[in-house]
Amino acid sequence: MTTISETNAAPRKNDGSNLPKRPIYLDYQATTPTDPRVVEAMMPYFFEKFGNPHSRNHEHGWEAEEAVEKARLQVAEVIAADEREIVFTSGATESNNLAIAGVARFYKDKRNHIITLQTEHKCVLDTCRHLEMEGFTVTYLPVKKDGLVDLDVLKNAITDKTVLVSVMGANNEIGVIQPLAAIGEMCRARGVLFHTDCAQAYGKIPLDVNAMKIDLMSISGHKIYGPKGIGALYVRRKPRIRLVPLIHGGGQERGFRSGTLPTPLCVGLGAAAEICKKEMVAETKKLTALRDRFYKSVTDRLPEVFLNGDFENRLPGNLNISFAYVEGEGLMMGIKDLSVSSGSACTSASLEPSYVLRALGVSEELAHTSLRVGFGRFTTEDEVDYAADRIVEAVQKLRAMSPLWEMAQEGIDISKIKWAAH
């Protein structure tokens, strides 16, 4: 632990007197560092206990199997599931593919309609697009201005042909938390399976698969201070959910996912899950305080700053803010000692601004000015204060050279100008 606080948490005074320092990491929705306690738990499984957990005939296999099964239990306990309901995968992308395509293909003779949200992660949307090509019907529901699904709209979208509703737990860009229990209730009443992509929510907010009537849940390792390359899919046993597997082979993971389990990664996911469960209350309190401190510091000093997504139903470590009249990538270049991410077009090859923000009805102009700031386990108060100062400085400097800011100050309505699209 000391190594982390020494290397990562020192406040940066911008006097240039010290050696070059690493940028402050404020992108915890992209990925998280692996907790040193997790790394420690994983270490023995690379060399000493390297056995194949599926080898049934010797000690090496047994000790690896024991470790994997312990991890399975640790993963299950965070969401009040049975360990036999946890399928290890390579990550949330695979889990989402397996859940959605697996259910759709298994039940296709009875029902062929899937419902999801326009703000889902690309791996959910892209899986759905592929299923459309296979002949399935998919409804991509809009969300409200606050990023939340309208339950009445969802209710009306469900038909006798609907096999699956897939709604994410918390959004990766705007952090808004969907009303999972209400959705689960609605789906169960209509005999529709409910899948939720909880890559961002798992381990961060209380989740209970039974209370929330969740049938399938995708889980990611590297979003919860575990290693990259591992995830899990919760698959309900009672009543039993069936899936057509994506990966064929030796029939591991109850036939849902063949392939030798990566013992160290499974152990890492388990250890990360256990820490999340144990520290969730304290961590939520800490992150909420940091986030609110940052938000207040920035909004107290800058006018025309807009929060994207609901504030109340939101991951404790997420902010997504539009700084009007300042383009996101231009802003990021001015805060190079902060690792944050932008919803602006310019960061991606597509040149289109964030489809999530567009789905909220955020104008393209404002979508181009957005910044996602993510706080996490190793974020300190000093880092938050420093980051807020740097962002305020950069926004002020860039507004001073923004023709749009100048026009706004002169009272010119920018939306009335006939711009030439290019």
Partner: protein, 132 residues
């Protein structure tokens, strides 16, 4: 994405940021791009009675490449005649700043901004000369 030193220098120390009086007869203003596309450039030139661009100012809403491209062209147009300034090509801007392919449109916009400023100036003076 790694940016060239020249580009970063123009971003961090932009030249000629500011505004000239757009109602001044000797000032031509070009406003190009669109907020929805994430780039807007305003380029202004002040032209001497001899037809030489004696001052240039810009303001840009956009990414670092857009800011650097517009900063660069304010330097390039100064001291040039209108005809000379009109020959500045986006490829020269892109080459000078070593813009990555995805940012070429920023240099195109900067070239458009010069042309728009020149034509604004000419429009003002076309009418002025006709009146003489």
């Amino acid at each position: 994405m790694a940016y060239s030193e020249k580009l970063i220098d123009h971003y961090e120390h932009p030249r000629n940021v500011g505004s000239l009086d757009k109602n001044d007869d000797n000032v031509g203003t070009g406003l190009v791009g669109a907020p929805a596309c994430g780039d807007v450039m305003k380029l202004q030139i002040k032209v001497s009675p001899e037809g030489i661009i004696e001052d240039a100012k810009f303001k840009t809403f956009g990414c670092g490449s857009a800011i650097a491209s517009s900063s660069l062209v304010t330097e390039w147009v100064k001291g040039k005649t209108l005809d000379e300034a009109a020959t500045i090509k986006n490829t020269q801007i892109a080459q000078h700043l070593a813009l990555p392919p995805v940012k070429i449109h920023c240099s195109v916009l900067a070239e458009d901004a010069i042309k728009a400023a020149i034509s604004d100036y000419k429009a003002k003076h076309g009418t002025a000369k006709a009146a003489e």
